[in-house]
Symmetry: C2
Amino acid sequence: MERQTTIKDIALALRLSTSTVSRALRDAADVSIETRKAVKALAEELDYQPNKLALSLLKNQTNTIGVIIPNLDYVMATMVKGIDEVALEAGYTVMVCQSDESFGREILNTKRLLDSLVDGFIVSVSSETMVYEHIKKIQTKKIPLVLFDRVINNINVPKIFLDNVEGARLATQHLVDQGYKRIAILAGPENLGISNDRKAGFMQTLKQNKITLDKNHIIHCDFNQEYAYIAAKELLSMNKRPDAIFAISDRLAIGAMLAIKEAGLKMPKDFGLAGFNNEPVTKLLTPSITSVEMFSFEMGKATAKMFLEMLHSDEDMSDKEIIIKPKLVIRESSRRISE
Amino acid sequence: MERQTTIKDIALALRLSTSTVSRALRDAADVSIETRKAVKALAEELDYQPNKLALSLLKNQTNTIGVIIPNLDYVMATMVKGIDEVALEAGYTVMVCQSDESFGREILNTKRLLDSLVDGFIVSVSSETMVYEHIKKIQTKKIPLVLFDRVINNINVPKIFLDNVEGARLATQHLVDQGYKRIAILAGPENLGISNDRKAGFMQTLKQNKITLDKNHIIHCDFNQEYAYIAAKELLSMNKRPDAIFAISDRLAIGAMLAIKEAGLKMPKDFGLAGFNNEPVTKLLTPSITSVEMFSFEMGKATAKMFLEMLHSDEDMSDKEIIIKPKLVIRESSRRISE
DNA sequence: CTAAAACATGAAAACGATGCCGGTAAGGGT
DNA sequence: ACCCTTACCGGCATCGTTTTCATGTTTTAG
């Protein structure tokens, strides 16, 4: 690694002080035109680049945003793209750290970014995270923080997330409307907010339609196709087996689909299936899978915008919330009644 | 943002000099045990964290790796996971910048990371990138750099990449073995190395099998399902239409699949299809798609390891290469002959 | 012709931490 | 009583930049 040209080199070469060079480079009025020209010319020639580290130390700001996410699956990658786009535009660089759904790694990542002195945090928690001391620590240090997608409630910071209850309602009501009578749910980890919200929407909708829910038809499993496959097999082997499944993520829906196909059941005739996230793959499968669109890219952009606003405004924004409205995309896996 | 506790605060409180505090914190022998204890106790109490920025400025090293990638699709995300895992382990933080296949953004990202003073670069170029001045600039500044996946040849740095020629050979030979006679290729952008390597492997294999290739059966298109769909439709509407397609990425293969299905052709009976990358989705589609596994996660890990080695060793490693061997995964889209 | 204003530049502190060098005091040896 | 060692600690420079204040010179106005 070669030594970079510094302001000192220029000063020395032109027999000026570093202060004058610094001012000349930023076109300060109180530097003579000739000096300015000379300084700029030499800076150009020596390929001078101001040392960001020195500036960061001085200004106590790094122009870097720490992004902590649980994984890099399709949905998260799309959100990160949105965040990245807005951040880049605003002159910020993004440090993405994935916890791989591990609480320990989430803590480690937080620590690392915290003493890398990022200007702030954009966080979506892992599915293992049940205690929020590390998040609260960010907050007590008065470092800007916004939560997105997988938000937590007992903490007072801006949040951007999907109306998960509504998304689940849309999907469930659709299944009901299509004439499915015994609808099961494949939910995620028990302590995960988005999973519980979707479950709540599901249960509310069944209640509104006066459908009683068999407790055995509620299954929790990790966000993982294999587990979903096993769980679905179990559902299908029950005495009073369901005639439809609402899976709270497309990954789970795909696992379920494999089990349904294997059982020789035809969708949508014998069995209904709806997922969540509207990953592109849902459109491609046979049958294509009904799913809930969550506008990940837009959510990412909105998150970054909110973050930047928080960073630059002095007013308290801690109770701001942006709730994205989901949209149901109906496909072959559940469309029995053609309009 | 609250002021962090500094070494000065501790020094002042204990009526010591900053140097002594600094040494005490690092358990230097020439500080009395009582002083050390007092310093550490106070540091603990005030939640002192050394300022990384100050250290970076002093040591001219940031413990940060700049990773530049063309996008965040499944393959890249998997590679990034691999890089991340190794880097985290070694105490490095990764700054991932995606160029979104845009040359301009790749340049911008390089500039940003360059003056963020990352310790080095891990790069995979965009499909638009045809001129490499920005990459060479990294090299002339003697900043550690390794290329991976989409490498460029006329530059002397360590490289980690797939044996793309071999991968294409495996897929093509398989299609030939299954009795397909007129095999077309859906290639990527014309100037992209990996695309040309795969194309070369394809053509070599046809030649070895004494199959003449219809020039019209070579199609270049962007890495994009929609383009592939259109391109495949065109192929299928030719007078002498092909009876199989080798797509150099699964995204392209999927686009082709949609066109093939739409034309009413049955795979593998009427038509053969093979992709590249072995994305999980290929296994799930109907028919499932034959593809070439490229071990992305391992490639990511190998890349990061190589990078760290370069960073810490003094010897010249510029001609090191790791070439990953691909593996063909045969699926329904092309398996006509069951063994 | 002199005082004040305008202009151009430099010195030094600041950001937070490290590390070399030097200094002081206590203790041991002659 | 003198010197030398050892233990412990402080001063200062350093990293690269900005910024405030001070200084010196020139120009302008009264």
